[in-house]
Symmetry: C2
Subunit: 453 residues, 2 copies
């Protein structure tokens, strides 16, 4: 019998775990510990507070602090869990009211991730920011009101979305990307090139293959010294402020200390019940490592969709239920200057790393039939396992209907369809919407022929 | 050994069958007979020649007449097949060059459908049109240049798309629908109400539950006498011209004459190879009856997507291959005044007719997270078999991303997923695109709870 569930962290993962535990079990006691002073807010929405697409910071707060009372969940903000004695099942926390302890039966880690600062000199200056918290966003939104030049170090999802936001606010923005292209954790180089060209056409500066070496200036930034990794030439990009968005690492110190197993991805190892190696201890969200659906490789999800799905499973199981997390496919999507970029499953790079032999269906299609005005180019790639023909990934880039199409590929992956099945897919058709053979089906056809199925 | 394939009809079905037969078999002789003087054009695109969203009539022609030579396909236009002697495998046709015969080994009916004129007086007047052929569209586009008032009889897909087109050209348009709502072959009444309200807000007049009784006027229309089927009140709607769009019936006279079996839907009965009851005789597209995927009910597809998929199967099989048509799910979609209306599988009405007990997941969601500006309301319904939990249908109405979402439901139906599977679907998520739990997933959650799975 579980009398008390303690949940550490109140991001999307922690909050969802708490709510789902409550939905499943009206009687169990639930306590929630958050280091930040805010209740659950949307982390992914933060860049849009800068551009104004999210109007108020408060709009991002999905669970107002007092809403927890109504759910009979004891949520504490601005508190830090400092020690866990899992043998005695007691945790110690510290906050505005001093130190206190709480007995628990089940424990859920939803501690999230933190910015992993890269080896760049001068990151300790004022006006050098990450974008992980609501306070970060508030500081950055204030910069948009006064600054003229911004350098964003890191061209991943957060870096690109933040760069777009500042550009929309009229700033001169340069993205510095260490790798040959932006968004390589999400799409193949040829897709990234389309994104880069589109963003550059909108005035965003992107430096690929470029190492940020030092933030210059005395108190606050004067510029960023960068080195072209091909020519080795150095130069300084002027900057009033700097955003560092070079990735995150799971927060696992408390878990490690109590003997919870940490995986190769640096996340907490979990099974499909979201249980760790210790009894009654769960981990969910950005701090956890789960199984990738296609190959079974263990990985940190790092996505809001994954976090809430894992959290639901942990919340219900901790509260006495028995549900399973089906694994991470890894659907990722964003929109930059109206260009939709979508990806799911394995990219070319991931397939190589996971040693999955692949056959590609790659086409340039149109969102609408050619005879109907206003159709827009859509670049589609689908990936299939060369040996089994199974669908293992896909990417789309286009100015409309790219994101929603990736959903078809993800569902297909989750249900083990092959190239012939995707070719047999009965897409919807109308001149104002889409052609009789959807570009997805066309790409499956290309792969099917290569696979001879 | 097949030496010669004769294909009757050169719409999407006939043309696709010819092209796929050729792709599969370089050597087989192929002849194609079309009563119209045009080579394959997009029938679904016809309404958009009126509004100008399709700029030129010629834009709709997907296979220019001379393109057939390059494929070594003997395509004849403006000819009618008048007799078929299947014992001798000889057909007789009549055209501008007089009567001639052709020996064949395999025969494909792709004769399509024709307007089924309803019992309304005065339909023989000038300026009373159907919208089935390119010539119909040309006549209607000319009306848009001169007329002021139009009455469209029938609020199905073609009727509504045609009404929208004339409204966009500035005409005063009234749709007269016999049934309680428009689009009932596609969506449930509550969804149709949303569509009607939207169209009326844009100025389109829609009379539901209304029987058109007579087109008045001498030579050409003065108006249409209609009767309210509830109050039985009669009135006359002024009209400069009238469009009749009350549905179609398969063209099967030639097939019937040679002993091909006709089904309850009035289409030609086929198996999953698209073969009829006669050896080496196939039927595809609007003239054919196929199996509905979920219940196995035999039905005419009446959709371009179905036509080309059936035609591919028949073309390849006639040319010596062995492929199968997986059955009709029946995904339907359109856009009216920017509102996307999408449907797939069983509606409430179809489920009743096919005696499938259903559980519904019905929600009003938003296309984007509530904190992000610009999200639009999305009405979502998913249907599941009450006994098995399997997904059997879905409908979406909304100003964006409704059509593309129906594709997920269709693929799910084709792969026998249930409410729990759809709830476990890992939709893509980004503030600018969609929330963490897609409205589709939310609707599955509602149904899953009812189904207790």
């Amino acid at each position: 019998m579980v009398d008390h569930i303690a949940i550490i962290g109140c991001g999307a993962a922690g909050a969802t775990a708490a709510m789902q535990a409550r939905k499943f079990n009206r009687d169990v006691e639930i306590s929630l510990y958050n280091t930040e002073n805010y209740s659950q807010y949307s982390r992914c929405g933060l860049p849009y507070t800068i551009s104004g697409k999210v109007k108020e910071f408060d709009d991002l707060v999905l669970m107002p602090p007092d809403s927890w009372n109504g759910l009979k969940i004891d949520a504490k903000f601005g508190v830090t869990v400092t020690n866990i004695d899992h043998n005695a099942r007691v945790l110690t926390y510290n906050g505005p009211d001093g130190e206190a302890t709480q007995k628990y039966d089940a424990l859920i880690f939803a501690t999230g991730a933190e910015n992993a600062d890269p080896p760049i000199k001068g990151l300790d200056k004022k006006r050098v920011y990450g974008l992980r918290t609501l306070d970060d966003a508030k500081a950055l939104a204030a910069e948009a009101d006064k600054a003229k030049k911004a350098v964003v170090i890191g061209g991943g999802l957060v870096g690109m979305e933040t760069a777009e936001a500042f550009h929309e606010r009229g700033l001169d923005v340069t993205v510095v990307e260490f790798l040959p292209h932006v968004l390589l954790a999400m799409v193949d180089p040829d897709m990234a090139e389309i994104v880069e060209e589109h963003c550059r056409n909108h005035g965003l500066k992107i430096l690929n293959n470029t190492a940020a070496q030092e933030v210059t200036g005395t108190d606050s930034p004067k510029g960023v010294i960068v080195k072209d990794r091909v020519t080795e030439e150095q130069s300084e990009i002027p900057a009033d402020f700097v955003v560092v968005a070079t990735g995150v690492r799971p927060i696992t110190n408390l878990a490690e200390k109590m003997g919870v197993e940490i995986g190769k991805s640096r996340g907490i190892v979990t099974d499909d019940k979201m249980l760790t190696n210790l009894p009654d201890v769960y981990a969910v969200g950005d701090c956890a490592e789960s199984t990738e659906f296609i190959t079974g490789t263990r990985m940190a999800g790092g996505l809001g969709t994954i976090a809430v799905r894992q959290a639901r499973v942990a919340g219900i199981n901790a509260a006495g239920g028995d549900v399973r997390f089906p694994g991470i496919v890894g659907a990722k999507v964003t929109k930059l200057f109206d260009l939709e970029i979508a990806s799911t499953g394995l990219t070319d790079d991931l397939a190589k790393r996971f040693e999955v032999p692949i056959v590609k269906g790659s086409i340039k299609g149109s969102t609408k039939p050619h005879y109907y005005t206003g159709g827009l180019e859509l670049k589609v790639k689908t990936y299939f396992n060369k040996e089994t023909g199974k669908l293992v990934g896909g990417q789309l880039v286009g100015l409309e209907d790219a994101a929603m199409r990736i959903n078809v590929i993800t569902l297909g992956i989750q249900h083990n369809i092959d190239a012939k099945d995707l070719f047999d897919f009965e897409n919807c058709y109308a001149p104002a919407i889409c052609d009789t053979w959807d570009p997805l089906v066309q790409s499956a056809d290309a792969a099917r022929k290569r696979l001879k199925i």
